[in-house]
């Protein structure tokens, strides 16, 4: 049991060594642990971003500044490979492929992420730290493809990151903003 020794004592006076009863303290700790264990959240969920690329309503007060279309990465998920096509408007700027491994269990495309990183270094339009805009990527997936494969591809796409100055500090952000191709 806990105690406080303040020395002295004797001579028929009151005992100076005090015993603190630790039982209520231990009880409190036990109850706190039980409460925290019961209310603990063991599974943490997160989100992976996508964007439907829908332009907002036209603002008549803002003058429209015609710009040359940016390069966009079109990522096609084919049966045995991934096809990476950089397009500027309707013009194909570059085309390359990456092998699509047959995955089992954990779905993760490391080689694809590396390939996308290399491609972005060559063709990416927003590489400067101060540039707040992101490059666009459009995902072309077959209707029968299962969702976990799509997420694995999006994950590989977001694996390529760059520094961006946000609130006067460098932060790592994915280089692409992703959307789906629809017909």
């Amino acid at each position: 049991m806990g105690g406080v020794d303040v020395g002295g004592g004797g001579n028929g006076k009151r005992q100076l060594n005090m015993e603190i009863n630790m039982i209520p303290f231990i009880d409190l700790l036990m109850v706190t642990i039980m409460f925290l264990l019961i209310t603990a959240v063991w599974v943490s969920f997160s989100r992976i971003n996508a964007n439907a690329q829908i332009p907002g309503p036209p603002n008549p007060e803002v003058e429209i500044d015609p710009k040359a279309p940016e390069k966009v990465l079109n990522l096609h998920i084919l049966d045995n490979e991934f096809k990476l096509v950089w397009k500027q408007g309707a013009t194909v700027v570059s085309e390359s492929t990456s092998e699509r491994p047959r995955l089992q269990g954990e779905f993760k495309y490391d080689e694809l992420a590396k390939k996308i990183g290399e491609e972005w270094k060559t063709h990416g339009g927003h590489q400067d730290k101060s540039d707040k805009a992101l490059d666009q990527a459009i995902l072309h997936a077959d209707n029968k493809l299962v969702f976990k494969e799509i997420i694995a591809v999006i994950d590989a796409l977001y694996d390529v990151q760059r520094d961006m100055v946000i609130d006067n500090a460098d932060k790592k952000v994915p280089v692409f903003n992703m959307s789906f191709s629809v017909r």
Partner: protein
């Protein structure tokens, strides 16, 4: 020292009569005071009340409480449909407070309200607008705008999609949400730890 005590300890009368003694305790056997000798040789009654050192136990409890408090989340757990197995991803962000569209192998739900069948979308075989999802999301958007008339609508929705649902269903729901005024769509995933570099 008294002679009796000496006899009791050594077990013979004349210490010079034998050169070799029987093996026995040697330490502390020459303590002159009887009551001290009894104590040190392990004699006498043992105290019935044993004192237990609780310091290590209390330390352990405090460390456990601190760990649990650090990992405590006041916002609670986000409800995920029991029929949905979320896929895993590494490059993720924190979950936002936004309308939740759940898609499992059989049906589509908007904030827990049934809003269409997955099978029906698959049977059609092409992308389509899911009318019930559209109506429910539109209603949510209008409600948000009536409560926050001065603020711009963020247009964020979260899709909880089962990992084995087909791309056709995902794209249909994605497009429907975009039509309903939610262009910023996120997919809910289970976070997977990044491998050490």
């Amino acid at each position: 020292m008294s002679g009796g005590a000496n006899k009791r300890r050594h077990g013979h009368h004349d210490p010079h009569s034998h050169a070799i003694h029987k093996p026995g305790r040697r330490l502390m056997h020459k303590v002159p005071l009887n009551f001290v000798f009894t104590k040190v040789m392990g004699g006498g009654g043992r105290n019935v009340n044993a004192s237990l050192n609780l310091t290590a136990f209390i330390d352990f409890l405090i460390v456990t409480v601190i760990f649990l408090l650090m990992s405590f989340s006041a916002s609670g757990e986000i409800a995920v449909d029991k029929n949905i197995t979320l896929p895993q991803a590494e490059n993720v962000q924190e979950v936002l407070d936004a309308p939740m569209v759940s898609v499992n192998g059989n049906q589509v739900l908007v904030n827990g309200t049934p809003a269409g069948s997955t099978r029906a979308i698959e049977d059609v075989g092409r992308m389509q607008k899911v009318d019930e999802v559209f109506e429910l999301l539109k209603r949510q958007r209008e409600m948000w705008k009536s409560f926050n008339p001065q603020k711009p609508f963020p247009g964020v929705a979260i899709l909880q999609v089962d990992e084995n649902v087909s791309s056709l269903v995902v794209k249909s729901v994605f497009q429907t949400a975009a039509f309903a005024g939610y262009p910023n769509i996120s997919f809910m995933v289970r976070k997977r730890g990044k491998p050490a570099q």
